[in-house]
Structure formats: structure tokens, C-alpha cells
């Protein structure tokens, strides 16, 4: 069963007298456990698509189905609940709370999902998995960019979500750290069976995913898959995909 389905999804914005079609009739099916990147130029609609997938925005028309549930019919409170339990987010600039240490930041989503049983133990395990066993009690200002992003990845997984959305998740780190971050997400994808959808400008990041969806003017321009689970997309596959 498909975990996520987008049907004729649109998101239009009014700007003065014109209508901006940020997302313009996207149809997509995402299977459980996929590791996907969404690429495209600035203004292609990839961030809006991510916001729609994250239930942070309501579409102008069309449907977003999570495990068959039409999220458009849910009220704001139920969408927030679904977001907390089924979705995880990894942002470009980490978005860690400065007053909380690493383990407290990882545990933050538990505060809103009533899913806190063994929460501290789970958070500690996740931090160990992302290689921050010795940095659990450090605050964000005591950590490097790569470490902060690993905390953010641990936080995105604390509620055992079915989908993690990455918004330029490697945009604030150097290429070596970027490589480590994507590898980590790939490992989490495989070990936890969690679907990852990464919005990125970075060809190297896209090249490490199993499926690359290219958007242009709010529409899907191409949707390329790796041949097997073990085969990453080659630079030939990506030719013309990344602007």
C-alpha cells in the first residue's frame, strides 16, 4: 500500500493582481521506505510541495493521502497531531531550541504527542545512533553544524514517523559533512524503514537518493528511479535534472 499519494495537488497564491501557481497539478505516489529527492530551480515549487506534504499548508485543490487518509478533511488540530506522530522535519538551519541541550531538543516533539513513554531512553539511543553519545548534554551553541544537523535528524525520528522531510538539510554544512549527513539519513531510512523526501539544490545529495523528482513551474518535469535498491543514480541519470 502506498504510504503517500498526491492527487492533482495545487497551491496558488494571490500576488497583487496575478495568481502564482506554486504547485500546479502534481500527481505522485510514494511507497513506504523510499529515499527520494525533489530538485528544481528556485521558484519551481519544491519547497511549497514539501510544506504541503508536511501538512504545514493546505492545498488550493487536490488531495494528499497518508496511508489512505485524506488529510484535507482533517481539522487543524488533527493535522497537527498527525504531523507530530507520522512526520519528522529536518531543516536547513537545524532549528534547534537554543535553551535546550541535545537530548532535550530530541525529546521536544514528545511534549506534544503524548508519546513520551521511554522517551528519554529512545532519545539517548537515537543520539547514540547518530554518533552523539558524548554530546547529549551539550547546547546547540557548543556544537558544530554537522552535529546540530545530526541532533535534528534524531529529533525527526523520536516519534517513530513514517515520513521525514528534509528542507535543504545539508545547505548549511560543508561538502564532507553534507556527505555524512546524507549517509546518516540513508542509514536511518534503511534501519528504521522510514521514508525520506529531501528537497535539495545539491547534485551530490540527489545522486545518493533512490529517486529524483524534478519540478518546474509547479509541475513534475521528471521522476527518475535507480535501477535497484543498491544502485544510486549516476551522473548520466541526473543530466539535465539539476539546474
Amino acid at each position: 500500500m502506498a504510504s503517500i499519494e498526491l492527487r492533482e495537488l495545487t497551491k496558488y497564491y494571490k500576488q497583487a493582481s496575478t495568481t502564482v501557481k506554486a504547485v500546479d497539478g502534481i500527481n505522485l505516489t510514494v511507497e513506504a521506505g523510499e529515499f527520494i529527492s525533489i530538485v528544481g530551480r528556485s521558484g519551481s515549487g519544491k519547497t511549497t510541495t514539501l510544506d504541503l506534504l508536511g501538512l504545514l499548508l493546505r492545498p488550493t485543490s487536490g488531495q494528499i493521502l497518508f496511508d489512505g487518509i485524506d488529510t484535507g478533511k482533517l481539522r487543524d488540530g488533527a493535522r497537527a497531531q498527525l504531523r507530530g506522530k507520522k512526520l519528522g522535519f529536518v531543516f536547513q538551519d537545524f532549528n534547534l531550541l537554543p535553551g535546550l541541550n541535545a537530548i532535550q531538543n530530541v525529546m521536544l516533539p514528545l511534549r506534544y504527542t503524548k508519546n513520551g513513554k521511554d522517551g528519554k531512553e529512545r532519545a539517548a539511543n537515537l543520539l547514540e545512533e547518530v554518533g552523539l553519545k558524548d554530546r547529549m548534554h551539550h547546547r546547540p551553541d557548543q556544537m558544530s553544524g554537522g552535529e546540530k544537523q545530526r541532533v535534528a535528524i534524531a529529533r525527526s525520528l523520536i516519534n517513530r514517523p513514517s515520513l521525514v522531510l528534509g528542507d535543504e538539510a545539508t545547505g548549511e554544512v560543508d561538502s564532507e559533512t553534507s556527505q555524512q549527513i546524507v549517509s546518516l539519513m540513508r542509514r536511518m531510512n534503511r534501519e528504521h524503514g522510514v521514508t525520506f523526501i529531501l528537497v535539495t539544490h545539491d547534485t551530490d545529495v540527489a545522486a545518493q537518493t533512490d529517486r529524483v523528482i524534478r519540478l518546474k513551474d509547479g509541475k513534475v518535469l521528471s521522476d527518475v528511479r535507480a535501477q535497484t535498491d543498491q544502485t544510486f543514480l549516476t551522473s548520466i541519470d541526473l543530466q539535465g535534472v539539476i539546474a
Binding site: D51, G54, L56, L57, D76, G77, A80, Q81, R83, G84, K85, F89, F91, N95, L97, P98, G99, L100, L108, P109, R111, Y112, T113, R155, N159
Partner: protein
């Protein structure tokens, strides 16, 4: 814990905001303590005068007013149907000729006192030290009176107190202090209680020397306190006394009680109104601080919404933070207010000038008000935070 961490992130700003609440609560506590002191006196007066009938000479005021009655009038009043007991009264100034200055209490007074009246009175006095007066030359002091003149059971005191500019004919007498009463927060605290014979002697001494030897005060009283039998309406009994005993004026208890209550209500309104103004200013500074906090934490709010926080969660977090600001300010303001009023009371006790009374009621009001103010002040910022669009909040600069 996160709230405390948030408050320490902007130490100066939050300290200033909390200081605003501290000043407001300090004003509430000091002004409220003044009102409480006044109200205690009023309540004591209401309790005491609501339970008996003050009888004076016809044409006198409810509290004596200078006219005198003969002692035989007491037995006439006692004959009136419905009267349980009538006790003669002679009241003289404790500090004749001396201005009592500003005081929330009654000025110091000396009064004839029959210990049996305590069985009827609604304001019961108890002893902190010693015993009741049993013979002439003995005095029981009210608690403030004893503190003012630094006397305890076993000491002696010359009554009335000699004023600094005493006239040549001023006379006073030495009394043995046989007891000191516990504090009542009302009338008895500033009294000195002697027997009727001694009071008649002091009444005679208080007369101008030209007429002093020509008047026999052993048959005179300045008034009496009358207690009704159980179930008797005292206002009606006052009318009966006025109708059946000539030359007396019995004042209805309700008349005295109403005059006390109206005075108390006006004073309470003025003092609490002034304090509330100060608190509202403090509340506005909480609103300002919390609005700034919301503006600074836009991305945090966006993140929290992204990870599942609902409107109620965000509202609760911000209101709670404002409540903590209010509670900290309220606690510090209360402690400061308690300290200031205690210091002022201690400094002015020797001048019979007890201005403040910090009651549990006032403590609870101050805490509830500061917490409630914090909560109310937090609602607008919390509402703004909770309604924030998560997409815009997450990508705010």
C-alpha cells in the same frame, strides 16, 4: 524548566518587567495592609457595637460626648424588659491635653471595666499576662498600650499619662499593672482598664480645678453598655430604653455599625484602587515583554507547530511563562511589602501608630492577583503566537 531558561535568556528585560510587578504588588500589599488594619478596627467595632447598646445622657453622642449620667440610671435601665445586663462606664483620656497625632487606632483611653462584661460581649478579651482587676489601684493594659509605655504585668504606671505641657492642676496616680491583654486588632488594644471607683476618681481629676471639689463623681458615670437577653432585637430594645428611662439616649446598634461600614468601604476602595493602578502598569509591561518574546521566538514557534504543537499547546506555554513572571514578581513584592510594613510598624509602635496589618487574606489576594495578572497579560501574546502560520514562522529571518 524551559520557562526559567527562557526568562534567563533576556535577563535585563525580564528583570525590569518583574520589577514592575514587584512595585505593583508592593503597592498592593502596603496599601492593602493599611486597609486591612483599618478594616480590622472596623470589624472589631462592628462586632462589639453590634452586640450591645451604648447608652449615654440625653443629647450626648453615641460614644459619650462629655455629658454624664447618675449611677442610679444603670439600675433603671436594668429593669427594662429584655435587658440582660447593664455596665456603668466612665472613660477618660489616657493622655489628656496631648494630641494623639495620626493613628488608625483609637486614641489611648482609660475606662472603667467590669470583668463580668466579658461574659456578654461579642469581642472577648484574653490575657497575655497576669489577671483581671480585682481591687482599686490595679490596671489591665491593652496590648498596644502596654507596648507604647513598655509595661508588663508586675510593673507600675502613673495614669493618666502626664503630658509634656501639663497644667499646674494636673494629677495622676500610680497603678499596679496586674495584666496585659492579648491583641484584638481593635478597641481594647489601646485601652487601660480600671475599676469603677478608680475611674470616678480620674473623672474628678479631669475636671477643672475650680469646680473639681464641688462635684461628687462617686455617683456619676459617662455612659453604660447594655446587653440584651438572647433573641432580643437590640434596635427595638434601644427604642424601649429611650421610651421607658428618662434622661438617657440609647443608640441603635445598627446606626453605629452602618457608620463603621460606610467608612471602611470608602477607605478600602481608595487604597485598593491606588494599588490596582500600580498593578495594571505592571501588567502592561508583562504584555510588552511577552509580545517581544513572541517576536523573537517566531522560528521556535514555527518549529513547535511543525513537530505537532497545537494552538492550545502554544497558548499554554506562553500564558504559563507570563504567569511565572507574575508569580515571581508577586512573591518578591509580597515579601518586600511584608518587610516594609513590619519595619514601619516596629518603628512606630512606641507612638501608638500601627499602620499596617498583613493578613492571610491579603497574602492570598496579592499572590492570586499577580498570577492572574500574569495570565491575563499573557493571553494576547500567547494568542498571537498560537495563531502564527508555521510556514512563515519557520522561514522568518
Amino acid at each position: 524548566m524551559e520557562i526559567i531558561r527562557n526568562l534567563t535568556r533576556r535577563k535585563l528585560r525580564n528583570t525590569l518587567t518583574i520589577s514592575g510587578i514587584v512595585i505593583g504588588v508592593l503597592a498592593l500589599v502596603t496599601m492593602g495592609a493599611m486597609a486591612e488594619k483599618f478594616n480590622a478596627l472596623i470589624d472589631g467595632g462592628v462586632a462589639y457595637f453590634g452586640g450591645n447598646i451604648q447608652v449615654g445622657a440625653a443629647g450626648s453622642s453615641a460614644f459619650g460626648g462629655g455629658s454624664v449620667l447618675t449611677l442610679s440610671t444603670v439600675s433603671q435601665v436594668q429593669q427594662v424588659n429584655g435587658v440582660a445586663a447593664a455596665f456603668p462606664e466612665i472613660q477618660v483620656d489616657a493622655k489628656p491635653g496631648q494630641s494623639s497625632g495620626f493613628s488608625f487606632g483609637l486614641p489611648d483611653y482609660i475606662t472603667a471595666y467590669d470583668p463580668r462584661a466579658n461574659d456578654y460581649s461579642t469581642v472577648k478579651t484574653t490575657f497575655a499576662q497576669g489577671r483581671d482587676v480585682t481591687s482599686s489601684g490595679e490596671v489591665v493594659l491593652g496590648s498596644d498600650f502596654a507596648v507604647e509605655f513598655k509595661k508588663k504585668a508586675g510593673d507600675t504606671i502613673a495614669l493618666p499619662i502626664r503630658p509634656p505641657d501639663a497644667k499646674a492642676d494636673f494629677v495622676n496616680h500610680s497603678f499596679a499593672v496586674v495584666g496585659v491583654l492579648n491583641k484584638t486588632q481593635t478597641g481594647p488594644d489601646t485601652g487601660a482598664f480600671i475599676n469603677l471607683k478608680d475611674a470616678q476618681m480620674l473623672l474628678q481629676d479631669s475636671l477643672p480645678s475650680a469646680i473639681r471639689d464641688r462635684i461628687d463623681t462617686t455617683t456619676l458615670i459617662t455612659g453604660m453598655t447594655v446587653y440584651g437577653k438572647p433573641g432580643v432585637n437590640l434596635d427595638n430594645l434601644s427604642d424601649t430604653i429611650n421610651n421607658q428611662v428618662s434622661g438617657v439616649k440609647a443608640t441603635k446598634p445598627s446606626t453605629i455599625v452602618n457608620s463603621f461600614k460606610s467608612g471602611g468601604a470608602i477607605f478600602t476602595a481608595i487604597t485598593t484602587g491606588a494599588a490596582l493602578l500600580a498593578l495594571i502598569v505592571g501588567g502592561l509591561s508583562v504584555i510588552n515583554t511577552m509580545l517581544m518574546a513572541v517576536t523573537e521566538r517566531v522560528r521556535e514557534i514555527g518549529l513547535k507547530k511543525a513537530v505537532g504543537a497545537r494552538i492550545g499547546h502554544i497558548m499554554r506555554e506562553y500564558v504559563l511563562e507570563a504567569v511565572v513572571i507574575g508569580a515571581i514578581g508577586g512573591t518578591v513584592g509580597l515579601l518586600l511589602g511584608w518587610g516594609v510594613t513590619s519595619l514601619v510598624n516596629a518603628a512606630t509602635a512606641s507612638a501608638n501608630l500601627t499602620l499596617f496589618l498583613v493578613t492571610w487574606r491579603l497574602v492570598i489576594i496579592a499572590i492570586l492577583f499577580s498570577v492572574g495578572l500574569g495570565a491575563a497579560a499573557g493571553i494576547i501574546p500567547a494568542f498571537r503566537a498560537s495563531r502564527m502560520d508555521p510556514v512563515q514562522a519557520l522561514r522568518a529571518a
